[in-house]
């Protein structure tokens, strides 16, 4: 299913070949005609996407088309860039996260983010995971939370005997899983990932992709990736963004991943994913 001229897209009805789900399809996150500008430059326009609960959606597109910009809008990270402005609506369980009354810190707790480069704090592995929960005034058993988060991030077995060592002593792939554990520890509902494996070797990359598959049991995941094979391997839905003449990015096509990579509806998508553009 493709976007119309305004970039309006309705979420695909179902993943072909997947087991019919019971109950209605629900969306953790939805944008309605969202545009993001930096000063007078409109970086993305008319983005209307719906992200299904417990599904992995990949955002792909050429460099500069606005993937990171779109992702940052989902947890108000753009607020940290003074020139940035978001128009349209970004709905989290139906409520606009840009309403005056909404606390951006709370948004960022419930919509977590994992970055391109692993960025653990120069603290112990334990503290890296516990930190966010502490800040949020977590009342439960911290040891349990740390273990549970590290297990979910598929890192526990590698670090359970050295929790007091510095997070920086880990390998790149381990550091990225530590960052995922840190994100998980504050119990978000959505995890945003901006090229989470671009700094990792192929094996570490595959491990993260496996992990993402595990995580979707508990979280809704939106991942930006430059690696089209990664989008193909690791996601359920894929949104393809491209730039217009005015360099503003918009959604060209939003489809179940298997469909998009075998029978894209739009020539523009086909040219991009088969490497024929230009």
């Amino acid at each position: 299913m493709a976007a119309d001229d305004r970039g309006i897209v309705i979420a695909p009805a179902g993943v072909p070949g997947s087991v019919e789900e019971t109950g209605p399809v629900t969306h953790a996150m939805e944008t309605v005609d969202m545009s993001v500008s930096y000063g007078s430059f409109r970086a993305v326009k008319n983005v209307s996407l719906q992200f299904r609960d417990h599904q992995i959606t990949a955002l792909i597109g050429p460099s500069g088309c606005g993937k990171s910009t779109v992702l940052r809008a989902f947890n108000r990270m753009n607020d940290l860039i003074p020139t940035s402005r978001v128009e349209g609506r970004v709905l989290f369980h139906g409520a606009d996260i840009y309403e005056e009354s909404v606390d951006p810190v709370e948004v960022r707790r419930r919509v977590g983010m994992v970055f391109q480069k692993p960025n653990p704090f120069p603290k112990s592995i334990y503290d890296n995971v516990a930190w966010g929960a502490k800040v949020n005034g977590y009342k439960g058993n911290m040891d349990d939370l740390v273990e549970q988060s590290l297990r979910q991030a598929a890192l526990w077995d590698e670090v359970d005997d050295k929790l007091d060592q510095s997070g920086l002593s880990l390998s790149g792939g381990q550091q990225q899983r530590l960052c995922i554990a840190r994100t998980i520890a504050v119990k978000p509902e959505i995890i945003l990932m901006d090229e989470p494996t671009s700094a990792l070797d192929p094996i570490a990359t595959l491990r993260i992709e496996e992990l993402i598959q595990e995580l979707k049991q508990r979280y809704t995941i939106i991942i930006v990736t430059h690696n089209m094979q990664q989008a193909a391997r690791a996601s359920d839905f894929t949104a393809f963004l491209n730039m217009d003449q005015d360099r503003a990015g918009r959604v060209i096509e939003f489809e179940a991943t298997a469909e998009l990579f075998t029978r894209p509806a739009k020539k523009e998508t086909e040219d991009y994913i088969t490497g024929r553009f230009g």
Binding site: M228, R263, I273, T274
Partner: protein, 228 residues
């Protein structure tokens, strides 16, 4: 900006060209096998059997290249569908070569028997019908021409009709035991040529898949009663 996967797309074209060459070989093998039959040319029949090895070699060569491309280039979308069609065509063309070999072997096995001109004429006609079917299907493939692909099943109809009437043609030889001994294997020749027609339709179906992404079986009137 130049297309980022230019080298890969050149590789795809090379594979496609090799496949077109292979199709030409298979089609010519069928034509020569029928010629050998009609002209009772045992030497030509032997050549067809020997040349099947060249088709098999081509098969292996293209298959090797195919595997390599799949492993290294991970094609998607139209490129993936092309690779899927290529593999399908590859198998189909190899089997078409086998049908030519079957016919040529029959020619050798019935050497010296008395022959029946009406049957020979019908088989020659079938040979003349199926060769253009293969060419048309391959042309539709190369030109990415959906309408042309749709013509192939139509071309198959007279082939099926001739194949069905072959039983009667053979039965008519019954009074003459010697001619009958020659005629019964002609049922197998007829069947082989009918298979070549079906294989051309298969190729045309692959063209439709390549272009639309949907597999559709073209209607094949009156072939349902035969098991393939």
């Amino acid at each position: 900006m130049t297309a980022p996967r230019r080298h890969f797309h050149e590789e795809l074209r090379t594979i496609e060209q090799q496949l077109v060459l292979m199709a030409g070989m298979a089609e010519r093998a069928v034509g020569r096998a029928v010629d050998a039959l009609v002209r009772n040319d045992i030497a030509l029949a032997a050549e067809v059997v020997a040349d099947d090895q060249l088709i098999d070699e081509k098969y292996l060569l293209i298959h090797e290249k195919w595997l390599e491309t799949m492993a290294l280039q991970t094609p998607v979308a139209i490129d993936l569908r092309l690779m899927s069609s290529v593999l399908h065509l590859l198998v189909t063309l190899e089997r078409m070569g086998d049908q030519a070999t079957n016919i040529a072997k029959i020619v050798k096995s019935i050497e010296g028997h008395a022959r029946e001109p009406v049957i020979l004429e019908h088989l020659r006609e079938m040979g003349d019908l199926v060769q253009p079917m293969v060419r048309t299907a391959m042309e539709a493939f190369v030109q990415r021409d959906f309408a042309l692909a749709l013509r192939v099943p139509e071309m198959d109809e007279p082939v099926n009709r001739l194949n069905r009437s072959m039983t009667n043609d053979v039965a008519r030889c019954a009074p003459d035991q010697e001619v009958l001994e020659w005629a019964v294997p002609m049922l197998m020749v007829s069947r082989a040529l009918e298979r070549v027609g079906d294989q051309a339709v298969d190729i045309a179906e692959q063209v439709a898949f390549l272009l639309t992404g949907e597999f559709q079986e073209f209607t094949r009137p009156d072939t349902e009663s035969y098991d393939h």
